[in-house]
Symmetry: C2
Subunit: 350 residues, 2 copies
DNA sequence: CTGTTAGCGCATTCAT
DNA sequence: ATGAATGCGCTAACAG
């Protein structure tokens, strides 16, 4: 309830002087600066964000557009959300969560009401409707994921294709000729999620590069169905001798099934995991390519902030949105294979 | 860039009329209402949040105060964050994440700058410094966790004490007389996190109630140290025949160690899990008491919103903060034991 | 340079 | 249904 006027009165100066002291946007004599400082402290004054924003058209808030997903995915999404929040805070921004119910409605609402300066978009699809939305609104945004059109907006992502290919090549190099690639869930594939499609493409590329037979299996969020699928795979004709697993969140299920069906996972896993969370204890002992959550979060945040600043810089002139197209940055993160506790198993002799 | 004035002009009415139409805070003739509606659509008008807030002193934003935790915990916290975001949206609020770096600084900043109408506080400690902060600022808040002082603020929580006690009693009823209780990490215990201390208290109570010998072991986030701890426990003198596990996020590690050391987890687990996430595949097959994330998130959000509304209702009078103390709600959620895929193992004969 | 005055940004709401 | 006042902080223009 205390305003800049109260502070000014108490310090015996004009309101504008207080503003200048607080923003440092002008030199003020050390003596009055001190007086103002003291008045601020004594009154516990803090500028009203809404007033500041109304005047300056900046909110110092970033929006994070989350997808609406099922429970299994939420832990991963939430992890990203927290890391983005950390990164944002380090750049002086707060983070507003936007769980997009329908289409891009939440994002649209946040952008148009001026609740945020820029947005980070999670769970990017190959052709993502939100890209059109933010462009149409000329709202600064960065993608946490790599869309089909790489020049539409700045983005960052793990190189899923390279990761999947690396996983397959690693297994092939260990002597495996029949490999199963456990992709993300059917649902994610059908939604054309970027990471899912690129992972599958990478698996296929790995097959071509090595000559190994790679069977791509779409996973499922339903544990019972997943177990049946895996059993059918491992007990069927020409079963694979190794597994590359992109559906990392189901790892415990997969390990259980693989162990039960004799894939030698317990003492020497014939398995590589792709995109596991850095602290996932289920993946810890396996050879794996981790999801670089922190790097991705930091970079996407940086790109979003950069886009917001570019817009502010361009605005005064009037040229505006065309200019921005040229300055779109990317960060494609190469996969790193972590060895796991035990070396990769050689294939069982048939 | 389009304002309420533009709309008014296009519709041939006064700005205030547009406002009334948009907020429905007054009856307007059907005819002009239509004209205004059309003008809004044609211009794509959306009210500026900062202007609205400046005037009305409400933001329709809720703050979520997150703790600063290590990676392992972040997935759980993030899950909560998303569920709170969902719940908030359903009540017409957006959610602002506040990763509290030092003490309650983030929360304080958000409250004082008027960025949010109320806060939900996560990861509550027994004596939580943030409680004092929000009371001092007269900022509406609800706790996602049960503090020592249960009447300071509204809160909701799983009844961890009852849950731990139930877990111990369940194991005892299955014939186990020596039980180990794997509590949360040392770090959480030392931070005096409410759920950790109450869980341990419940385990002790369970021991008293059943006469079973219950050894409480604090866990650790370091997998290697955890493995050593478990090995020492299971191969030491008088090893437990069953495990109650509150450190659910380390479950894969714990299962591995328990299996290796001969606790019969693989075919018939002598184990109950307390506070696992609803979709955690690692806990799925075990008898467990799940963390009711969705219920807790919804309730905490509801309480926070209720607190905000109570404050708004009280404000005009002038009575204010004293009034609120009487209307503090709680929701203590009783534990529910889910059976797991296989029945609980009888103890091995010694 | 340092400090002050005045006007602006936009939606809400009380009188008229 | 309208006009005008209001909420709060920023900043250009002005004065010392």
């Amino acid at each position: 309830m205390t305003t800049i006027k109260d502070v000014a009165e108490r310090a015996g100066v004009a309101p504008s002087t207080v503003s200048y002291v607080l923003n440092g946007s002008r030199s003020i004599s050390a003596e009055t600066r001190e007086r103002v400082r003291r008045a601020v402290d004594e009154l516990g004054y803090h500028p009203r964000a809404s007033a500041r924003t109304l005047r300056s058209t900046r909110t110092d808030v970033l929006a994070l557009a989350l997808p609406r997903t099922d429970g299994g995915q939420r832990a991963v999404d939430g992890r990203f959300a927290i890391d983005v929040s950390d990164a944002a805070r380090r750049l002086g921004y707060d983070l507003l969560l936007t769980t997009a119910e329908e289409k891009a409605e939440g994002l649209r609402r946040v952008a148009r009401s001026g609740l945020a300066d820029a947005a980070v978009l999670m769970a990017v699809d190959m052709e993502d409707a939100r890209i059109e939305v933010v462009r149409e609104l000329a709202f600064p945004a960065a993608l946490l994921g790599r869309p089909a059109d790489e020049d539409a907006l700045p983005w960052t992502d793990l190189d899923w294709e390279a990761a999947a290919s690396l996983a397959v090549r690693t297994l092939a190099a260990a002597g495996h000729h029949r490999i199963a690639y456990l992709a993300p869930t059917e649902r994610e594939v059908l939604a054309r999620r970027s990471y899912a499609l690129r992972g599958i493409a990478g698996a296929r590329r790995g097959a071509r590069e090595t000559g190994a037979a790679v069977r791509v299996i779409r996973s499922t969020g339903n544990p019972a169905r997943l177990a049946r699928k895996l059993r059918a795979l491992l007990t069927g004709a020409e079963p694979p001798t190794a597994l590359a697993v992109q559906h990392a969140s189901a790892l415990p299920h997969i390990l259980a099934a693989a162990t039960a069906e004799g894939l030698r996972t317990a003492d020497a896993p014939a398995m590589v995991v792709i995109g596991s969370l850095p602290d996932d204890p289920a993946a810890r002992d396996l050879p794996r390519i981790e999801l670089p959550v922190e790097t991705m979060a930091a970079e996407a945040t940086r790109l979003a902030v950069a886009a917001a600043e570019a817009l502010r810089a361009a605005e005064p002139d009037g040229g505006g949105d065309r200019l921005l197209a040229g300055a779109i940055g990317h960060l494609l993160i190469p996969p790193a294979l972590l060895p796991g506790a035990r070396p990769l198993a050689p294939p069982r002799s048939p």
